[in-house]
Amino acid sequence: MSIFVDENTRVVVQGITGRDGSFHTRQMMAYGTRVVAGVTPGKGGRDFAGPEGRSVPVFDTVADAVAKTGADASVVYVPPAFAASAIMEAADADVSFIVCVTEGIPVLDMTRAHALARDRGSRVLGPNCPGIICPGKTTLGIIPGRMVTPGPVGLISRSGTLTYEAVHHLTRDGLGQTTCVGIGGDPLIGTSFVDCLSAFADDHETEAVVMIGEIGGTAEQEAAEWVSANLSIPVVGFIAGRTAPPGKRMGHAGAIISGSAGTAAEKTRAFEDNGIRVARRPAEISVLVAEALGR
């Protein structure tokens, strides 16, 4: 099984005619994602040319796309100035799962977008995230399909390329994945570690979980407590930013240590205190997963 999305998920791409949107739509379609519609205001009525001669109808609004195609998930590839509004448009059209890849959205815009999504019961993944991939089934976002393979490991991460690094080792060591979720590097994200852990707990095919955290905030600490109270399968952790100085933003808007909270040491301790083994190097993640699964 997979979490949040599967091969039946019907996807509308917001910003389908843009540079990133068009490239990644073709990648997603080539992987097998059911992309049923695209939205670009002012370009409704056209067809988007996908791979292998397939095409996707383009609409002016998400509501039109949903009404005509039954899309139930969206991927947002629109620029930061309009991305929060794109998320709100999708939530307003009752899209239940919204992936936002865009980086650089003003945080006050996101306070309103998250509030609307919560009211409408829509789940937002991200923003500033690589998306979600269920190996062999579907992918929403930008995670390259060729580095994953089906198997028993669930993966949750705040980072994109660090996810690739971890998945690369897992796949090479014969440890496939049920679902890999990039939850995003922004301070305000719609789907937390705990949301993903709770979905993995209900998925009988997931036998172990990898959590890749980083400095900033307290999401890892909350996740660690949740794991200890609720999860029976093994969890392996990694925390990036042990050498990060306090008060400096390390690339991700959310990766900043303020005061004593949010340090890598504190997060590592929270993991270990709650029975989560922490890899010291990215390459060690798959070693610890193999041990946890008795392989």
Binding site: P106, T111, L116, P144, I212, T243, K248, P282
Partner: protein
């Protein structure tokens, strides 16, 4: 982006807030003139992006113009947390009866603005939070409705028992929220918010951080950036669209992706080395970005080796390889370069590098160890 106190006070005044008067100068003579204009006692305050200015000796009371000029002489050019003081703010002294704290920032957990107020102001609020957390009152604000008048009043009653003071406090709290939202801030605080012996409530300090992601639509705020207080490499990185943080080590790091960049620094440390920087070249790496990254890294004389760690996903390894080759043709690089790349178009990248006399590894662990060894 952090604002100076005098800039933050301007934003507060524009929101209609009662703020104590003040004027800035960058030399002692200017400070003397300002003090003469105000008459009486003044306070001379270092304008520098650092907390603890008072403890560092950057805030001094003066009884008149001569003393103010003497303090300015001492404070201007002083270093506070490694930053040189270029300007001072001069304000008339106030007859202070009480000092409170009022701040608003974005709450990650609640995903909304949150107010924090305390009747114990004028001190480090993190210290109050640690020693006497009950003294801090919090209120989450629904961003769709904004701060409602009754909420502002309730917060003010936590600060003032006297209804006349509470009414003034509520007004200032509302104005602070307006300034926070209206300028795209991620944090705005008044510490202290004073009541005077004459029964007036006003802000005598101000601290504002602007969300960097807001700057594209707020050019007038962006213009407030104090480029003098910014390191040359920081400015160059910002202009090139690179995320860069200078560190103290000698292994220059150039990585794609923030998480992998942090993990690379950590691995350098793990193998006994010291990273010279955090640098994320971002997702789509055109050769120009790689060139800019190399210029920034090599401008640090401490750097003994340059380490590339590229995991090609969206980033194409061949783009980065071309950038490395182009950069080494354009600028003189006297330190060794070690390269790890894997992922999208890896073989093509390896060919490009081989033609230019570089070799690239595939294992992050091996390449980091090699870099640490070369750094000595």
């Amino acid at each position: 982006m952090n604002l100076h106190e005098y800039q933050a006070k301007e934003l507060f005044r524009a929101a209609g807030m009662a703020v104590n008067p003040g004027d800035v100068a960058d030399n002692a003579e200017g400070v003397r003139e300002i003090a003469e204009r105000y008459g009486g006692g003044v306070v001379v305050k270092a304008q520098v992006h650092s907390g603890g200015r008072g403890k560092a000796g950057g805030v001094k009371l003066a009884s008149g113009p001569d003393e103010a000029a003497a303090h300015a002489e001492a404070i201007l050019g002083m270093e506070i947390s490694g930053l040189t003081v270029e300007k001072v703010l001069v304000c008339p002294t106030e007859e202070i009866a009480t000092e409170a704290y009022v701040g608003v920032l974005v709450d990650r957990e609640g995903q909304c603005p949150v107010f924090m107020v305390s009747a114990e102001g004028g001190v480090d609020i993190e210290e109050v939070a640690a020693t006497n957390p009950d003294a801090i009152h919090k209120l989450r604000v629904d961003p769709r409705y904004g701060l409602m008048p009754h909420q502002a009043y309730r917060l003010a009653t936590r600060l003032y028992a006297d209804p006349a003071l509470a009414r003034q406090g509520a007004k200032i709290i509302s104005q602070l929220y307006d300034a926070f939202v209206g300028n795209g801030a991620s944090m705005a605080e008044i510490n202290p918010l004073i009541s005077t012996t004459g029964g007036e409530v006003k802000a005598i300090d101000a601290k504002v951080s602007i969300d960097d992601n807001e700057l594209f639509r707020r050019p007038s705020i962006g213009a407030l950036r104090d480029s003098g207080s910014e390191d040359g490499a920081d400015a160059q990185a910002r202009e090139a669209g690179l995320s860069f943080v200078k560190l103290d080590g000698n292994v220059g790091c150039c990585v794609n992706g923030a998480g992998l960049a942090m993990a690379t620094m950590d691995l350098v440390k793990y193998y006994g080395g010291d990273p010279a920087n955090f640098l994320d070249i971002g997702g789509s790496s055109n050769p120009d970005k790689v060139v800019a990254a190399l210029e920034i890294i090599t401008s640090d004389p401490a750097v003994e080796v340059i380490l590339f760690n590229i995991f090609g996903g969206i980033t194409r390894c061949d783009d980065v390889a071309r950038g490395i080759v182009e950069a080494t043709e354009r600028i003189d690089i006297e330190v060794p370069i070690v390269i790890r790349l894997t992922g999208t178009n890896e073989n093509l990248a390896r060919q490009i590098l081989a033609d230019a006399g570089f070799t690239a590894g595939t294992s992050m662990d091996e390449v980091v160890q090699e870099a640490v060894r070369l750094a000595g």
